[in-house]
């Protein structure tokens, strides 16, 4: 069955807006902080590769555990988190601060569709930046270990680990993206709630199980291919089954986007107030 003319128009509108988001986020002024942020893990891993002691080079299996720690505590909780914050809070707030948001609101499309289009553009941007960053970081973790490191990285197990990390990154983009999209609509300075949420995510290991359920990282950890060593004072909890974690993350993202769409219906243009 072919799409109706209205559906075709809606698809074109969503594609136009999503492409505009990607253009602005990747090529506009807002791109620099994101690119500097993702350059951090790459630079650190490159320095590690350059100055790695010979004894460490000869132990390629260490790369697996070291990358798992680096991914969980640095890449996911800091780089992926803030890259999403930078991309998504600007989706609306950027245009409002630039005082060009009214042009978007003067387009013949439902506000709900506008939110969905911007969200999809943001997800595409974040994935486009963070998937290569994660892949390169992963390669930089293994390659310094020479031929043994390369063969470990390219083994079925190694590639399986990489796929799991990329799934985590994509799911993080969906979930954090929805949260920051909403924050960008609701708060004049969305980085404040972003930092507060980072604090909450960082505290997750020490929270009782019923509060862990309110953090994204708790569900994202379910896809981790390499188990992490427990931290001191951490409260142990039964890990969530991957299928349940997937449902929880997607449901949370959907709920947050739906809430953003509902808020967007009441949006007004009053730049003086912003």
């Amino acid at each position: 069955m072919s799409a109706s003319p209205d559906d075709r128009v809606r698809r074109r509108q969503v594609a136009t807006l999503a492409a505009a988001v990607m253009r602005r986020s990747l090529l506009g002024r807002g791109a620099l902080p994101v690119l500097l942020l993702v350059a951090m893990p790459l630079t650190l891993l490159l320095l590690r590769a350059l100055f790695m002691p010979d004894a460490m080079r000869a132990a390629p299996t260490r790369a697996t555990t070291e990358f798992a720690e680096a991914f969980h505590y640095f890449l996911l909780r800091f780089i992926v988190f803030f890259a999403n914050a930078l991309v998504f809070v600007r989706l609306f707030r950027g245009e409002i601060l630039e005082q060009s948001f009214h042009y978007t609101l003067l387009a013949p499309l439902k506000r709900e569709l506008l939110v969905i289009a911007k969200y999809l553009g943001g997800v595409a941007t974040a994935v486009l930046v963070l998937v290569p960053t994660t892949t390169l970081s992963w390669l930089l973790a293994y390659l310094p270990h020479g031929a043994a490191g390369r063969s470990l990285a390219l083994s079925a197990e190694g590639l399986g680990d990489l796929a799991a990390y990329l799934v985590i990154v994509c799911l993080a983009c969906l979930a954090y993206g929805a949260l920051f999209l909403l924050a960008g609509l609701f708060f004049r300075n969305p980085m404040v709630p972003a930092v507060l949420f980072l604090g909450w995510e960082t505290l997750t290991p020490f929270l009782p199980p019923y509060l862990k359920a309110l953090s994204f990282v708790h569900y994202l950890a379910s896809f981790a291919p390499v188990p992490l060593s427990s931290r001191a004072f951490a409260v142990l909890a039964q890990p969530v089954a991957p299928w349940l974690a997937l449902v929880a993350l997607l449901a949370a993202a959907l709920a947050l986007v739906a809430l953003a769409a509902r808020l967007a219906r009441g949006l007004e243009v009053s730049y003086a107030a912003d």
Partner: protein, 315 residues
């Protein structure tokens, strides 16, 4: 049936405790309508409400039968040129219009064709590929107008569209507005330059302190201001004789000689005055060059209703 009109009922907007517009009722028919009032009177608020950029605190709006909370339908038939002088970063004139038209669902070829047509209409073809950030104030005004009318809307809402344009540009844009209005569209133009509104408008909406103080054709609005006698300017070869005879009429409040051969008469009943004037002209044998109303203008009506001291900076 409001299918061919813009209907506003009991519309109010408050910014906290600050009044934007207050219990506004309007009915706008096709043609060119001037929206006049001093700065801060509520013109831009009213236009934002009409286009859904602001939500009303109370009341209702229908633009050709469509409410502003249905943007997917409203902006197919409405174009809005706001007062904001800001644009998406890095946009060129052509890119700006292409993007707007793509959001109307047009494919690249159709969007290109319409964008070029709109650029031609506002005289920006040569600057089309230049960044808007490098445009002059007048060019930015033109690209906003192109944005408002590039999708061929039936309703155009234009907030101070002549700001920043040079005299030639103003004349071209006024010509464009009158052409669009003659094509049967609704063109609502806000301006504080009253003589321009006067020259182009079929009707006028006067707003002051958030309330509409007058609405309709200028002549009708003027005739309703009974507190102010109507002024008629007569040019004749014997103005003194006419003045003496006219002054005897009960309805004539004042007859004053002005300039060379001019006689300014103020009367409380224009229709009766014109009848009497014919009789006096026949009786005296004076030759009449012109007889014209002297205060059936937006400017005069504005002064009567709002007053020069309204602080709006109107000219």
């Amino acid at each position: 049936m409001s299918g061919d009109r813009i209907v506003v009922r009991d519309l109010s907007k408050f910014y906290g405790e600050v009044l934007g517009v207050n219990h506004v009722n309007l009915e706008v028919r096709p043609g060119l309508t001037g929206l006049v009032g001093p700065n801060g009177s509520g013109k831009s608020t009213l236009m934002h409400l009409l286009t859904g950029l602001l939500r009303p605190s109370g009341g209702s709006i229908e633009v050709l039968g469509i409410t502003p909370d249905r943007p997917e339908e409203l902006f197919r038939l409405l174009g809005y040129c706001t007062q904001y002088d800001s644009f998406p970063a890095g946009a060129t004139g052509l890119g700006f219009l292409r993007h707007a038209l793509a959001l109307h669902g047009l494919d690249r070829a159709a969007a290109d064709e319409r964008a070029w047509r709109a650029l031609e209409r506002v005289g920006l073809v040569e600057a089309a590929r230049r960044r808007i950030a490098g445009y002059s104030k007048g060019m930015r005004q033109r690209i906003k107008l192109a944005h408002a009318c590039c999708h061929d809307p039936r309703v155009l809402v234009l907030d101070e569209p002549l700001n920043g344009l040079d005299p030639m540009g103003r004349a071209e844009m006024i010509d464009l507005f009158t052409t669009l209005a003659r094509e049967g569209r609704h063109v609502i133009v806000s301006s504080h330059i009253l003589h321009e509104v006067d020259a182009i408008s079929d009707g006028v909406i006067m707003i002051h302190g958030g309330s509409v103080v007058a609405e309709g054709a200028i002549r009708a609005v003027r005739s309703e201001i009974t507190s102010q006698p109507i002024q008629v300017l007569i040019r004749s070869d014997r103005p003194q004789v006419l003045a003496a005879r006219l002054f005897e009429l009960e309805r004539v409040v004042e007859a004053k000689l002005v300039g060379d051969g001019g006689l300014l008469v103020r009367t409380r009943d224009a229709d009766a005055f014109y009848t009497e004037l014919n009789r006096i002209v026949l009786a005296t044998g004076a030759e009449i060059e012109t007889v014209a109303p002297a205060d059936e203008s937006v400017h005069a009506v504005y002064d009567y209703l709002i007053g020069e001291g309204a602080g709006g900076g109107t000219t």
